[in-house]
Symmetry: C2
Subunit: 328 residues, 2 copies
């Protein structure tokens, strides 16, 4: 495996996908619809979901190129979710740039998002071939889960009694379902056996959960300049993250009171972040969360180890491990 | 054909579709997502798009029942467009009830609409069988055209130099494309030949245009209580309808100035409606529009006449003629 340079392969495939993504809607009219669509597709991102498709195609025994259109499709779909989520969250910035509804307006952002869903399907179909029925079904099931997850997420903002278990159900739907769907679809396009598809789904799902827990963790452990967000931003906004709900589950006495304050006041002040970070440390929350991230990553890696294709296996393990080690 | 009672057949099929539509999301969780979805699906409507699917299935030589899931799918899709359009138009009421974003909130309405798109695909797939690739493609192309049409519609609100030709392109995308898509998909599900599909598309497209022009006409000629909207509402809101743009094309001198006032002032007062109705009559706009509605209806009817299946042919001609004669 010495001749496999995962980062090089990732970079190469990423640039292939981005080239397609950038060329896709060039010249499409009307501009009032497509200029916003192009804006969001050009706004960057790690393109991890596209990579999941490609690696899964390869894991199932086919060439990356068989999944290029589907890879473009999941990136478009992911960007649709960002556009609509940003409206719902009233977010001003995304990847350092104005969100779509801030650059244009809410109507434009709603419509651009809607159109992106359909454009995603159109691209998916190009790679679906004889398996179109199954592949479109997997894709659609993924969208439904994402919507259900997003709805739970919004619901949790208003509820004061969210449990850790409920939180895990929510992120499984909101984040892990899409990663699982990418792997499943890649496997289906690659003509994988049921055994392939099972492994790939396990890999995607667990990777997705690990990714989200790591994201929650980075809010506290991340480096402000590198992470690109305010450290403790989730606490400031009163978000019920894995760390917060785990702490609430463990804490008692004054510690519990302190945590309940966050819920009661719908967040904390910036100068209180340090105090809460200390509390998390005292309750071993950082360590416990890291262990969970590790546990889900290992589940993903175990599934990936069963992949016969050397390059796909190597890449999937590398991807799982680097997502956990990421600092942004 | 004396034994065919079109209204009876329509009513029967409508009630079959509604029963399915109402049962579809019963018990789906979370309620925060599905309660709004159920609300809009229960809000009524003529279910014309579902009927177009069923009649086209029959026209292609199959039984209505082969298209029930697809018929449900297009109704769901249509309702998604209503939910998102109502946000964009800041509409308070729809079919006499609060719009979704007024009953809940904008975030809920965005998300419910997104979910409905996916639920629509899921239902479509149930009837797509071996033709899934083609059918999903037709469906997706329809959604893209609707988005493009809606974007043009929003764009026209802000532009002062919209031409009649541009308006026709817009309604072809926003309204006629979905009707055409229903007929095409019905034909595909029914296993129709290319000749069937061509006829059905021609029927759907022309019916859709006639329907929209009739809608524009009813704003002026409709009976307030029966039509359910304020007569002249489009003029009051300054909408650039077929009637308005046709008048603008024909008018000169003082008449033209009077019309340009509508654009300049972004609409007129309610007590000015009578004056503009008079102007429309003076310019023969009502008559000219009726002629256009008739012309497009005849194109639809001509296409329908070529359908071999007696019941489908009879129903399609009846549908085209009754949409034109409708008063609401």
């Amino acid at each position: 495996m010495n001749n496999i340079d995962p980062y090089k392969i990732y970079s190469k495939q990423k640039s292939i996908i981005e080239k397609r993504l950038f060329g896709l809607l060039k010249g499409s009219k009307p501009d009032s619809l497509y200029e916003p669509c192009r804006y969001i597709l050009h706004s960057g991102g790690k393109r991890v979901r596209a990579l999941l498709i490609l690696l899964s195609v390869k894991a199932a025994g086919a060439q990356y190129s068989k999944g290029y259109n589907a890879a473009v499709a999941v990136e478009i779909l992911h960007n649709f979710t960002l556009v609509h989520d940003d409206i719902m969250d009233n977010a001003d910035k995304r990847r350092g740039m104005p969100t779509l509804h801030k650059k244009y307006d809410i109507s434009t952002a709603i419509l651009a998002g809607d159109n992106l869903i359909a454009v995603a399907y159109m691209n998916l179909l190009k790679d679906a071939g004889p398996y179109a029925g199954n592949i479109v079904k997997s894709f659609t099931k993924g969208i439904i889960e994402v919507c259900e997850g997003q709805s739970l997420d919004k619901e949790f903002e208003l509820r004061n009694n969210v449990t850790l278990q409920e939180y895990l159900i929510m992120i499984k739907k909101k984040t892990a379902a899409l990663a699982e769907m990418c792997c499943l679809i890649g496997g289906q396009i690659g003509g994988g056996t049921n055994k392939h598809l099972r492994m790939l789904k396990t890999f995607g799902r667990n990777l997705g959960i690990a990714f989200q827990l790591q994201d929650d963790l980075l809010d506290i452990t991340g480096d402000e300049t590198e992470f690109g967000k305010v450290v403790g931003g989730d606490l400031i906004e009163g978000k019920k993250t894995y760390l917060f709900l785990k702490a609430l589950e463990i804490a008692a006495g004054n510690n519990k009171t302190m945590l309940l304050e966050v819920i009661k006041k719908n967040g904390i002040r910036k100068n209180q972040v340090g105090k809460y970070k200390e509390l998390y440390n005292k309750l071993d929350i950082i360590k416990l969360t890291k262990q969970e991230v590790f546990r889900y990553t290992q589940k993903a890696v175990s599934a990936a180890r069963k992949i016969e294709d050397d390059e796909a296996r190597h890449m999937m393990i590398w991807l799982a491990e680097s997502l956990v080690e990421r600092s942004k």
